[in-house]
């Protein structure tokens, strides 16, 4: 549960429909997210959860519907635009830059804030050097926070999966986002790793007030840390409310147990 006071609506998804050729990924999805809250999206596999996240930050463009973020309404979003507006995300399959070290991967998260031009960077004295050091300090704070100091120069490809997930989170955090979209951040982790990840997520929400939207399969985690939950099944919304509301929702129970509709 978020320790902060939950604020006004920061994200409103309005009647989103998305189809790939003949496959309908999402149909008429509407819900909202309030500032500072932890909102979970759950549902069986193939329900469209990742597609929904992809629509929110512009990787996919829905055929119908609009997205309202912080008083601006969009029919079309681009990933770059989303980043500029303060939306960061992690990926289910880890989209880390395999050729770079942990430090460099997280540093890429600072790209939006790096201003110096090519010429200064080539000479690397003066503004470019100062900027590089400034951002290095910020990134080191994130590295401390995620407890991955020992690995900062290691190429990410060599790290175990759990640590790679932390780097993915670190890179998103480096963007100093207003809203963080997490796509199955705890997939493939053992109990200890999950506890660490929960701790990190709640700390981020607590300290920086970052709004969290996360897709998660572990019901224990969902019930524990989220303020409100959205349930998807076959691309449609079948539940929306607090964890308790959703836990007792007949449709949700049917969806998970696989009763034919």
């Amino acid at each position: 549960m978020s320790a902060r006071q939950v604020g006004d609506i920061i994200l409103a998804v309005d009647d989103i429909s998305l189809a790939f050729g003949g496959v309908k990924a999402l149909t008429g999805i509407s819900f909202d997210v309030r500032e500072h809250e932890v909102r979970a999206i759950i549902g069986p596999n193939g329900a469209g959860k990742s597609s929904l996240l992809n629509c929110i930050n512009g990787v996919y463009t829905p055929q119908k519907g609009r997205i309202r973020f912080r008083n601006e309404s969009f029919a079309q979003m681009s990933p770059h635009r989303a980043a500029v507006m303060g939306i960061a995300r992690t990926f289910q399959n880890l989209a880390l830059f395999k050729g770079m070290s942990v430090l460099d991967n997280i540093m890429t998260g600072r790209s939006l804030r790096m201003r110096s031009n090519l010429l200064w960077q080539a000479i690397r004295i003066g503004p470019a050097q100062r900027e590089e050091l400034e951002h290095r300090e910020f990134v080191e704070k994130i590295i401390d926070f995620l407890e991955i100091q020992a690995y900062r120069k290691t190429p990410v490809g060599r790290l175990p999966y759990g640590l790679q997930k932390r780097v993915d989170l670190g890179r998103a955090l480096a963007m100093e986002p207003v809203m963080l979209l997490l796509d199955e951040p705890m997939a493939g982790m053992n109990l200890e790793e999950k506890q660490d990840m929960c701790r990190f997520i709640l700390d981020v929400n607590d300290e920086f007030g970052t709004t969290i939207v996360l897709i998660e399969h572990d019901m224990g985690v969902v019930m524990d840390i989220s303020d409100r939950v959205v349930v998807l099944d076959y691309g449609r919304k079948i539940g929306d409310g607090t964890p308790d509301d959703v836990r007792n929702n007949r449709d949700v129970i049917d969806a998970y147990l696989g009763t034919t509709h």
């Binding site: 989303a82 960061a88 989209a95 050729g99 770079m100 790209s111 590089e132």
Partner: protein, 354 residues
């Protein structure tokens, strides 16, 4: 034992970010620079300078430029020869048409013209990648080949695109003897290598590598693929253009479009692959390899006492090149540079096995 980093702790980020953080490396590079700038010009025979070191330096520079595009940013280009040609001919035009135009400025302007052409032909990279982009860059190669042959204005109205320069000088110093040419190229290459290294370890370098590794994720973080790709093409073409101008002015003296044909493009690509994609040092390794190999192959039979005619030698060179490319791709896709850093890793532990 020799290569231990013990005791070399960094107490601030600035120290941690040096190009050569290990003391032994700094000593090593100092020795290399000393040899290159002082020992070689004083003692090297003319043949070594003229036929090996000067082409090595200039081609290293071109390979460096190509490596930025292909190795760091992951955009394939088969049109490098064309950009070298643009650099060479543009520099020639500045030098020949404007009286008293400084040499260095001609070279840089040549590079800038190459940049414009490079960015123009890099625009397709915003929509296509891989093999398709390779074909697009081939369009650049063949179009430029034709342009310098047929468009008289571009070559200052020379016949068949053949031009020449003479009497090079900088700040009153002549650049005529092999030693002078060598030092001139060395200075330029050293400056560009430093600049390139700073770029690739800085913010833009990270953007390039992000685009190379996963461009969708890069845009999600806020990196603009368009900016990153076009700057890669721009910087790369600039360096390649200057290299082309050097090739024409300093090495060849007189040249025509065929000096920058598709064979040159393939040759540079081989240098970058064999030397190591995504490595500044790799560009030098690759260039050294490609420059030295044909000479070794030409002379090897004589050293062994077996006479081999030149045609056969050139066919064998083709075969060996081809097999080496395949060999490197299978065994060490990151090229000689990776072999070098693996050796250094082993050296850190030496004489212990692990």
């Amino acid at each position: 034992m020799l290569y231990r980093e013990n005791g070399q702790f960094k107490t601030n980020y600035r120290a941690d970010q040096q190009i050569f953080p290990i003391l032994q490396d700094r000593i090593g590079i100092a020795i290399v620079l000393l040899i290159a700038f002082v020992l070689v010009p004083l003692t090297a025979p003319e043949y070594l300078l003229r036929a090996i070191l000067i082409p090595f330096l200039i081609l290293s520079l071109a390979a460096l430029g190509l490596n930025i595009l292909v190795g760091y940013c992951g955009q394939i280009s088969l049109g490098t020869g064309a950009f070298m040609a643009v650099g060479a001919y543009a520099a020639y035009n500045f030098q020949a048409r404007i009286d008293g135009f400084p040499l260095l400025l001609s070279l840089l302007c040549g590079g800038l013209c190459a940049t414009l052409v490079g960015v123009a032909f890099g625009i397709p990279s915003l929509r296509i990648k891989g093999l398709y982009l390779a074909v697009a860059t081939l369009a650049a190669q063949f179009f430029v080949d034709w342009a310098f042959l047929r468009i008289k204005w571009l070559t200052n109205d020379s016949t068949s695109g053949s031009v020449s320069v003479a009497g090079l000088q900088i700040f009153g110093l002549r650049i005529e003897s092999p030693e002078q040419k060598y030092l001139f190229c060395l200075a330029i290459v050293a400056v560009f290598a430093l600049g390139a290294k700073n770029l690739v370890r800085g913010a833009i370098g990270r953007e390039w590598m992000a685009i190379r590794d996963m461009d969708v994720a890069a845009s999600v973080i806020g990196i603009r693929p368009m900016y990153a790709k076009l700057t890669a093409f721009a910087v790369s073409s600039f360096i390649v253009g200057v290299a082309g101008a050097l090739w024409g002015f300093v090495y060849l003296g007189t040249w025509e479009p065929a000096a920058f044909s598709i064979d040159r493009s393939f040759q540079l690509l081989f240098m970058v692959i064999i030397g190591g994609l995504g490595s500044i040092m790799g560009s030098f390794f690759g260039a050294a390899f490609i420059v030295v190999l044909p000479i070794v192959l030409d002379n090897l039979p004589y050293w062994f006492g077996i006479p081999v005619d030149t045609a056969l030698a050139s066919h064998l060179t083709f075969m060996i090149f081809g097999s080496l490319i395949v060999f490197f791709l299978i065994v060490e896709p990151h090229g000689i540079a990776r072999l070098w850093s693996t050796a250094k890793e082993k050296l850190r532990l030496w004489p212990f096995p692990h």
